[in-house]
Amino acid sequence: MNALVSLQSVSMVYGRGADAVRAIEDVTLDIAKGEFIAVVGPSGCGKSSLMKLISGLHLPSAGKFTIEGRPVTGPLKSVGMAFQNSNLLPWRNAINNVLLPLEIVQPHRSRMRSERAQYRAQALKLLESVGLAGFAEKHPWELSGGMQQRASICRALIHEPEILMLDEPFGALDAFTREELWCTLRDIQQQRKVTVMLVTHDLREAVFLADTVYVMSNRPGRIVMRREVGLPRPRDLEVTYTPEFQSIVHDLRACIGGRH
């Protein structure tokens, strides 16, 4: 099997002893190289914990967790992350925000000083690809929410990570901007063939973007459903109005349940 990320019966616990909170229980999933997966579920179901786990920030308490066949023992370095809040540094302009990971990750870190111009060009190209061509020198407060989020995604991609982790990245945006960003993300993934894990509670977003959608249950988070989205790529926003699309969303919704 050529899984990039492999979780086998993995559980994760916060804290110890009597105070321990079981965040994730018995999760088994594989992410293939270049696959786009989405994790959906009710709030507080441990979606973000799963993300912390896969990025290596928090180690599992039980089960087997490997990346490219090797067990994970600490932060991965080949991960790019973006959150609902863009978390751009307000004292840096857009391009310097995008360059931040290169100042941390080797081998870029030691080359940063000598090859700054080249890195800047690379960052500029990335900003252009998400439609921020003229905004590289702008500070975060001069950008709209959608633009900030685009810059934040650029920051997550600049060091060419193996896995792009997105934790409800479009949650705070209005519906139109959100759909625009769906398309941006779709194009980026298509071009770069990057592996993406998207945590969201927007089912349409999950189905539109992902190859595989996982549904998690309430705490402790278990995977209660795995659904492959067979819709052909490239997908257009129009696809969201087709019966096939609707029926997948419907199935997922039924699986999550809750009172209506």
């Binding site: 920030l57 932060p75 370095k77 991960v79 809040n85 307000p90 004292w91 941390i104 990750v105």
Partner: protein
């Protein structure tokens, strides 16, 4: 324009009112001298006032600079980790609660009459707000941002350098405004308790000689110096943390 004229007008008005009260009620010079008297003394004794003001200014700035360096370093140390924060905080609060006037006699005992006790008092009184502000700035770093960096393999030092310290700079520069005023208070208090030079000492001497208008002249100089020192630190603050003042620049 109005921002320059309005405070100027108000200040002049205040002096006019003060003069009027003194004249109407015929207040004796030993109680409240009129501004005209005060400015008269200020001019008449300009040389000793100037000499002593320089001493106060230098002790204030020396104490303030030491407090800035020490406060910044201690603030980073305290904000580095929650455990350090909780371990040091009570002691610092306790230390800060000691009225610094009470410490001055001890300082004089150790260092003798002179500028050293004034510098140390200025330092002791002004470093606390700097420490607290820097530590708070560091402690309130967004955990998600920390995750972003840690997921890249950033060390604690990296997180501090790239995020924590730049982020706490507005807090730091903001605290300098408070600290400079406090340092000034510390220096003058120390001079009043025991010194051989400085505005505090000058005013103490004038008071014992019933030269009340000189006391008020000293107060006036203190006020002006206080405004100037505050303005300088406020300017430095704006210069270095423009991004935190973005609302005012748009």
């Amino acid at each position: 324009m109005i921002q320059v004229v309005a405070p100027l007008l108000f200040t002049v008005l205040l002096f006019v009112l003060w003069e009027a009260v003194c004249r109407i009620f015929k207040l004796p010079l030993t109680i409240l001298p009129a501004p005209s008297e005060v400015f008269g003394s200020l001019w008449q004794f300009r040389v000793p006032i100037y000499d002593n003001a320089l001493v106060t200014l230098w002790t204030t700035i020396a104490g303030f600079l030491i407090a800035t360096v020490f406060g910044l370093l201690l603030g980073i140390f305290v904000g580095w980790h929650r455990t350090v924060y909780s371990a040091l905080y009570p002691v610092m609060v306790g230390f800060n609660s000691i009225p610094k006037v009470a410490v001055v006699p001890v300082l004089i005992l150790w260092f003798g009459l002179g500028e050293v006790p004034a510098i140390i008092t200025a330092f002791l009184i002004s470093f606390f707000p700097i420490v607290v502000n820097v530590a708070t700035g560091l402690a309130t770093t967004e955990p998600e941002l920390e995750d972003v960096l840690r997921a890249l393999g950033a060390s604690r030092l990296d997180v501090m350098r790239k995020v924590g310290i730049p982020r706490s700079m507005p807090y730091f520069f903001g605290s300098l405004k408070v600290a400079i005023t406090l340092a000034f208070v510390g220096a003058v208090v120390s001079e009043t308790v025991g010194a051989n030079k400085g505005l505090g000492k000058l005013m103490l001497d004038a008071q014992s000689a019933f030269q009340v208008s000189i006391v008020f002249a000293g107060l006036l100089v203190l006020a002006v110096l206080g405004i100037v020192l505050y303005a300088i630190t406020a300017l430095i603050e704006k210069r270095f943390t423009r991004w935190a003042f973005r609302g005012q620049h748009r």
